[in-house]
Amino acid sequence: MRSPWSTIAGLFLVCALVGLGRILWLSLLVARAPLQPSLAEDFAGLEQALPPGAAVLFLGDPPIDAAQESPGVRAYFRAACALAPHVLANEDQGQEFVLLVAADEARRDILASRTPGRIIARARVATLLQRTATR
């Protein structure tokens, strides 16, 4: 009588080969995909520019919305992780520092023009600004 293990072995072998093929294909896909910069590279130098315990307001383009994993929320959490333990507020309460996050510098400059302050540090995707006058 045929052992149940031979049936299972056959089934597992087919699945293993399909699974291996899928992982190999993914590996090739990953190898061709553009490099995603690390958080340390995206926000390099900003943490050092902030004094300990500084209050920071996050302003992003696109802005934070309620949808999880939207580009705005994603940008917020990337910044929050890179600058931790500094807490990034998403409500303007007159924080001394403002973090402007946008993929390109022109959009960050537009955000900066709306916020009176002095730019104290720039990184690949973010600009840190110190407000000249706080409420």
Binding site: A16, G19, L20, L35, S38, L39, Q68, F77
Partner: protein, 463 residues
């Protein structure tokens, strides 16, 4: 000084682990012990971090150095006193396929780390963020729950347990923060799952079962992808395997008239600690803990039930109390929390049942991340799920069934958009259960032991 202490703690844990790995390798049983060694390391580092949050001073921190040394001495004595089983012999072609699959998985992890050093969304949004807060605030628990994040209505998940962030923060304190730390911890989690699954199946003295389950895990694309994305789901799965091993050993011991209360207590303690550690990794661990308790209570003979449940709960209590205190006293409310009447109303809504059925069906059809595994498993489960089953198959089946019912109720009651919730979480829920489901299938395929074929029958080699 703090950094030196953290370095000494890490050195003590890794040194003890290396010593034990070398000893077990010499005795040709490394694969059976690699899982518990890795789980002990991650739990120990998290414990060091937890002690650090209490700011008890130098003496308390030194416990983190003494504990692994004491564990090493205990493990060495245990290994010498008992004759550990040799690794079960497996068919050569399965070993070759396993080695090839592991090499491909490792290649994929390396490439993924190079292309996305910070892992997937959950990795940096939940685990690494919390670890960085812990490390940056001198392990101040309250500071890891900033009101700004708690107020955010876009899902910061501050209620998630802290075992993994504590271990990451402890490593970062010793070696400095670098993206390779969470990446290595994640890969270690994947290895721990495979090794733990091997250990459970190998303890059944069935050479094919251990090889087949391990091979299936390494060849599951979702499993390999989750490790590359640095998800905590793998550590949860590894702790669940440890807990299930203890549970199955307890259930098997109930049929043995020679079992004493003392010999029964050891596997029950392993199970209780394993489930409480699982509950400290991710919130789903609490559901698994409840399912483990249910499986134990329903499968234990009436005369031993009270003692068995008490041993299980006593082992789980310390860590479960800490986790519960964090979750219900310190952390903000979960995004799933809602009044009971609202939750019951959602569960009773037929439209949500339809939506759930449609969502689950869509995910089954959308099987790319799983290769053909889910479909093959469903077919095999239908084919081999009939007829009499062994105590271990019944125990695993009960555990999986209770968790499945619990997850269905959570989905039905979710305040989030149901299709979105299913789409973003189902694969990971399946991943938690996947190693245990494979073990259940192996237990169903194995012959049911009769009174003349005890569970610890001599090993059968498939070579």
């Amino acid at each position: 000084m703090t950094r030196m202490l953290a370095l000494a703690q890490c050195a003590a844990w890794f040194g003890s682990a290396a010593c034990l790995a070398w000893m077990t390798w010499r005795r040709r049983c490394l694969l059976s012990y690699a899982g518990p060694i890795l789980l002990a390391c991650i739990s120990g580092l998290a414990l060091c971090g937890l002690v650090r949050t209490a700011h008890l001073g130098l003496a308390a921190d030194c416990v983190g150095i003494a504990l692994p040394v004491a564990l090493l001495v205990w493990a060495t004595n245990s290994l010498a006193a008992h004759n550990p089983p040799l690794e079960a012999r497996s068919p050569a072609f399965v070993c070759v396929l396993f080695a090839a699959a592991f090499a491909i998985a490792a290649l994929y992890w390396c490439l993924s780390f190079q292309h996305a050093p910070d892992g997937g969304w959950d990795a940096w949004m939940i685990w690494n963020l919390r670890a960085r807060f812990l490390g940056g605030t001198d392990f101040d628990l309250a500071a890891t729950l900033p009101p700004a994040l708690a107020r955010a209505d876009f899902g910061s998940h501050l209620d998630y347990p802290l075992l993994l962030p504590l271990a990451l923060a402890e490593l970062a304190l010793a070696f400095g923060w670098h993206p390779s730390i969470p990446a290595l911890v994640s890969a270690a989690g994947a290895v721990a799952v495979v090794a733990c699954a091997w250990r459970v199946a190998a303890s059944w003295r069935e050479a094919c079962a251990a090889a087949a389950v391990s091979l299936a895990l390494v060849c599951t694309p979702e499993f390999v992808q989750a490790a590359a994305a640095q998800y905590a789901a793998l550590w949860l799965a590894a702790f669940l395997l440890l807990a299930a091993e203890g549970l199955l050993r307890s259930l098997a011991s109930f049929d043995d008239p020679a079992t004493t209360s003392r010999s029964m207590a050891s596997p029950l303690a392993v199970s209780g600690v394993g489930f409480s550690l699982a509950a400290s990794v991710k919130q789903e661990g609490l559901l698994w803990f409840a399912a483990g308790l249910f499986a134990l209570a329903t499968a234990t003979p009436a005369g031993r039930r009270l003692r068995a449940v008490a041993s299980f709960l006593a082992a789980a209590a310390p860590l479960l109390l800490v986790t519960s205190w964090f979750r219900w006293v310190l952390a903000p409310r979960s995004d799933l929390a809602q009044p009971l009447s609202v939750a019951l109303g959602r569960i009773a809504d037929p439209a949500r049942w339809l939506s759930l059925f449609a969502g689950l069906s869509l995910r089954v059809v959308y099987f790319q991340a799983w290769g053909l595994w889910l479909i093959a498993f469903a077919l095999a489960a239908v084919w081999f799920g009939r007829g009499p089953s062994s105590p271990r198959a019944r125990g695993l089946g009960r555990l999986l069934l209770v968790v499945a019912v619990g997850e269905v109720l959570v989905y039905l009651a979710t305040p989030h958009d149901l299709p979105w919730h299913i789409r973003t979480s189902l694969d990971r829920l399946l991943l938690h259960a996947w190693p245990l489901a494979l073990l259940w299938l192996a237990a169903r395929v194995m012959p049911v032991p009769t009174s003349s074929t005890p569970l610890d029958a001599p090993p059968r080699s498939a070579g």
